[in-house]
Symmetry: C2
Subunit: 336 residues, 2 copies
C-alpha cells in the first residue's frame, strides 16, 4: 500500500462491483475502506469472499449506506443500476457526503438529454460539495464513444461517424444472455420492448456524448431496437437455440443533420453473432477505419476503466462531467 | 471568427507548416497572427499562397522571429525540424516571449531520455514563463504511443504491448520517399545510417513515452534500423525499383524487463509495403488487438492533431509536458 493510496468506497457488489473489487485488490495505490450493498446475501459478508477472491479483505459489506459514506474516502465507485432516476438518491448521498463518484450507471454517461433536471441537480450539488461525478464503463463510456472521440484527434474535419459493436454473448455470462433475450420468442421480445426496460441502456447516451463533444448539431435522433433472430440451430452457452428464436438484440441510433445521417451507432449483442468486434469508421480528412478484432471484453474492461479513472476523477474539477472532460486514461502499472 | 479565437503564430512554413496553415484557415476558433520562416523563397510571401490556398490570408511570412514572437498570441505552432538540439533556441525564444508551444519536433515528444539537460532547461523556462510546451504529431505523438495508451484504459493489467505502423510510401509525397531511401543501394543505406541522421526520428521517443506513462520499468532498450529491400520490380511513385534495391526502412524498438520483451514498436515505411496499417496488440486482461486498416495518413493527421491540441495546450499547466499529460483530444467542429 502506498502512503497516498486512494481511499475507495464501493457502492454495489453485484457482478460489476465484484469485478471492480477484484481489480482494486491487486492495486497498490488503492485502499477500499467500505463496501455497501443492501442485498441480504451480501450485507455482513467479507468483500473479498463475495468477489470470489478466496480470501478475506477485511471489509464487511454493509447495508448502512449513510454510515459507510460518512467514512473518509476519495471516491465512491457506484455500480448498483442502469437507470439514473433510480440511483440518483444514492449518487446524491455520496456527493453530499463530499465524495467524488465514479459510476457505471449507463444513463449517467451522458445524462443531460434524457434527464436534464436531474443532471442540473447532480451538477449543482457536486459543485457545491466540490466533488466530481462521472459515469463510465466499457459501453457506454469507451468503445462506442470515448474511443471514437480519441480517434477523431487525427482528423482535420469529419463528415460522418459510424460506430459498431458486435458481441457474441454465447461466450459471456448467462445474465448477459438473459438480458438480451437469448432464447425467447419474437412475441416475447416485443412484449419486453414495450416495457421500455429492455435492450442495451446507454446507446443513445454514447451518441449524445459524441455529438456533444464534437459540437455537432443534430436535427433528428432515431433509436431502433429489433431482435437478432436465430437463422440456424445453435448452442449458446447453456441455451439451445432453434431457427426463428431470438438470439439477442440489434440496436441502432441514427442522428441526422439536414436530412443526412452524420452519426450511426450499431450494437449487436447476440448468441453466435458473426465477426465480434468494435469498429469505428470516420469519414473525414483523413478517413479512419479502426477495428478491434473480437471486441473488448465488457465486464473486465468496465472494471478496468473504473479503476484506471480513479486518479483522473479525484483530480478533475467539480461538477457532473463526462468521459470527454477527463484526461487520457491508461493502465498505469500499480500492481505489486 | 469567434471573439475568443486562439491567436496562433506559425513558426516554420515547410510541408507540415503549410498543411497546418491550410487546416487553421478553415477553423473559426483560430486566428493566425504571424508566420515565421527564414527561407528566401518564403519570407515576404503571403502565408495563404505558400500553403497553396490560392488566396491571400493577409499574413506575410517574416524571417524576423523576434519581432513576430513579440506579438500577442496564445500559442506558437512550431514545425521547423526533427532534432531538439537544433530547434531548442527557437522553442526557448517562443517560451521566453510568453507563448505556449505546440511543436512537431519529433525528439520533443518525449525528450527526457535523449536530452535530459535540455529537457530540464525547457521545462524550467516554461514554468518560469507560465507556458506549456508539448511535442506532438501523428508519429511520434499518436498512432505509436498515445493511441496505445488510450486503448490500455480498458485493461486491468498489461503484460506486453506491441505497436506496429506500416506505411506504403509509394502513395506519399516524394520527400518522404527520399527520406526513407527509396531506390538507393544497400551500401548507400549503410552509409546514411552511419551518419546517425537517417531513419524515422521519434520511434524511441514513442517507446519511452509509453513506458513512462505506464510506469513500466525497463532494463534494456534496443533500436534496430534495417533496409526494407525490394524483392520484385515495382514502380514507387516516380521511382522505378529493381530487385535488391532499398524500398524503405524497417525500424524496431524493443524494451526488455527481466530478459523478456515487454514492449515492441515496429515501423516499416517502404514503397509497396504490404498491408499498410496501424496496429496495437495488448497482451493483458483483457487483451486488445486493434487495427486501423490502411493506416492513418501522416501529414494530414499531424496537422490535424496540432490544430486539435490548441485548446488543450493553452489550458494545460505550465512546463514541458507530453501527450500523456493532455486531456483527450478530439476534432471539435469549428469549421464554418
Amino acid at each position: 500500500m502506498q502512503a497516498s493510496a486512494y481511499r475507495v468506497i464501493q457502492y454495489g457488489v453485484g457482478a460489476i462491483g465484484a469485478e471492480v473489487a477484484r481489480v482494486l485488490a491487486s492495486r497498490l495505490d488503492v485502499k477500499v475502506v467500505a463496501a455497501i450493498d443492501s442485498a441480504t446475501d451480501k450485507a455482513g459478508h467479507d468483500l473479498g469472499r463475495l468477489a470470489g477472491l478466496s480470501r478475506d479483505v477485511g471489509i464487511t459489506v454493509t447495508a448502512d449506506a449513510e454510515a459507510a459514506l460518512a467514512l473518509p474516502a476519495d471516491v465512491v465507485i457506484h455500480t448498483t443500476g442502469s437507470y439514473l432516476e433510480e440511483v440518483a438518491p444514492q449518487l446524491l448521498a455520496a456527493v453530499d457526503a463530499g465524495k467524488n463518484v465514479l459510476s457505471t450507471c449507463e444513463e449517467l454517461s451522458y445524462p443531460w438529454d434524457r434527464h436534464p433536471a436531474l443532471s442540473r441537480q447532480i451538477d449543482a450539488r457536486a459543485r457545491e460539495a466540490g466533488v466530481t461525478v462521472v459515469g463510465t464503463g466499457v459501453n457506454p463510456g469507451f468503445v462506442m464513444d470515448t474511443l471514437a472521440l480519441a480517434l477523431s484527434a487525427v482528423c482535420q474535419s469529419l463528415s460522418r461517424l459510424e460506430i459498431r459493436r458486435v458481441v457474441d454473448v454465447s461466450t459471456r455470462r448467462i445474465q448477459l444472455q438473459r438480458k438480451v433475450g437469448v432464447g425467447i420468442t419474437p412475441e416475447e421480445f416485443e412484449k419486453r420492448k414495450a416495457t421500455g426496460r429492455f435492450g442495451h441502456v446507454g446507446l443513445m447516451e454514447s451518441a449524445r456524448l459524441v455529438a456533444h463533444a464534437l459540437a455537432w448539431p443534430v436535427d433528428d435522433w432515431q433509436e431502433v431496437l429489433e431482435p437478432a433472430l436465430c437463422d440456424s440451430p445453435r448452442q449458446a452457452g447453456e441455451i439451445r437455440l432453434v431457427r426463428g428464436q431470438v438470439a439477442g438484440i440489434h440496436q441502432v441510433v441514427s442522428a441526422r443533420r439536414n436530412g443526412r445521417e452524420v452519426l450511426r451507432l450499431e450494437l449487436e449483442m447476440s448468441a453466435g453473432a458473426a465477426q465480434p468486434r468494435d469498429e469505428v469508421l470516420i469519414e473525414g480528412q483523413p478517413p479512419v477505419h479502426m477495428v478491434i478484432e473480437g471486441g473488448v471484453q465488457g465486464d473486465l474492461a468496465t472494471a478496468a476503466i473504473v479503476a484506471n479513472a480513479i486518479p483522473a476523477v479525484v483530480a478533475a474539477r467539480p461538477g457532473l462531467l463526462t468521459m470527454a472532460d477527463l484526461p487520457l486514461l491508461y493502465a498505469r502499472r500499480v500492481q505489486g
